[in-house]
Symmetry: C2
Subunit: 156 residues, 2 copies
């Protein structure tokens, strides 16, 4: 992996410019990270939420494939390097205050989630009248009747 | 605003259960926050990324309208209370490790972003060959030729 090209990232001293101008000035938080949302470029389905440090963002911009920072393993994480489930970047979007990224991607393979689903968002949360009890842990709903692949076959 | 119903949130001691079972056990980070992505329920467009503390999440679940925690103002933020641009929740999704939420919403009014656009993601980031210089700040691209509303008329 290469290191960050910090020349690519503008300064963040002028808040109005960050929102209204066109200099790329991503905000890395106190841990040096910015959230990056991977969205399927075809279906619009949100696949996962991960984080990038400056190196991961630079690598993603260079490669055109998603590279994240693994907070659990504390390493650069070229998504798909183990599973083959690479995310080919189609478009990258940044929000008003430049502290969140969207990656529209072509997800290679049967799914992005290590649990075995196409998306990490394979459960929904009931709300309002669908919450059956006020004093118990909410029970999630499953969105899919089966997994899209067997993670034991992929992550050996 | 009401306070959090902590009975709704399960414990996070069993990592396998968090991913594979159906108890709702959202992870609030060291600042007590979980990221929440608002996605247009019709178009699939991601509208914004915000954060919720336990109170904001409880309020959202009770009301069926998005309530966030404003990190800049340090208050509960019922989205649309000032602008009228309420987000009516259609579906809530949670990811594998339960540290990110998606809210599929019907966005009321002309847009969600205080800058005057339908989405906060009104600029894109060039990558690979579209980066014209290696040693200068990257120039963003505008996605829309004009704003969807005049924020000066809404936020007086």
């Amino acid at each position: 992996m290469e290191t960050a090209n910090n020349a690519w990232f503008g300064d963040r001293s002028d808040h109005k410019a960050i929102e209204n101008e066109l200099d790329f000035a991503p905000k890395f938080d106190e841990s040096g990270l910015i959230p990056a949302i991977a969205q399927d470029a075809q279906s619009g389905e949100v696949l996962m939420v991960a984080y990038m440090n400056a190196d991961a963002l630079s690598d993603t911009l260079r490669r055109g494939e998603a590279v994240y920072w693994s907070r659990s393993r504390q390493v650069l994480w070229h998504k798909g390097a183990t599973s083959g489930h690479v995310q080919e970047v189609v478009e990258i979007l940044i929000d008003c205050d430049q502290d969140a990224l969207i990656l529209k991607v072509n997800q290679k393979g049967p799914g992005c989630c290590h649990v075995g689903h196409q998306t990490c968002f394979y459960r929904s949360v009931p709300f309002k009248d669908a919450i059956t009890s006020q004093d118990q842990v909410i029970t999630l709903n499953e969105r899919y009747s089966e997994k899209s692949y067997d993670p034991k076959e992929v992550y050996k």
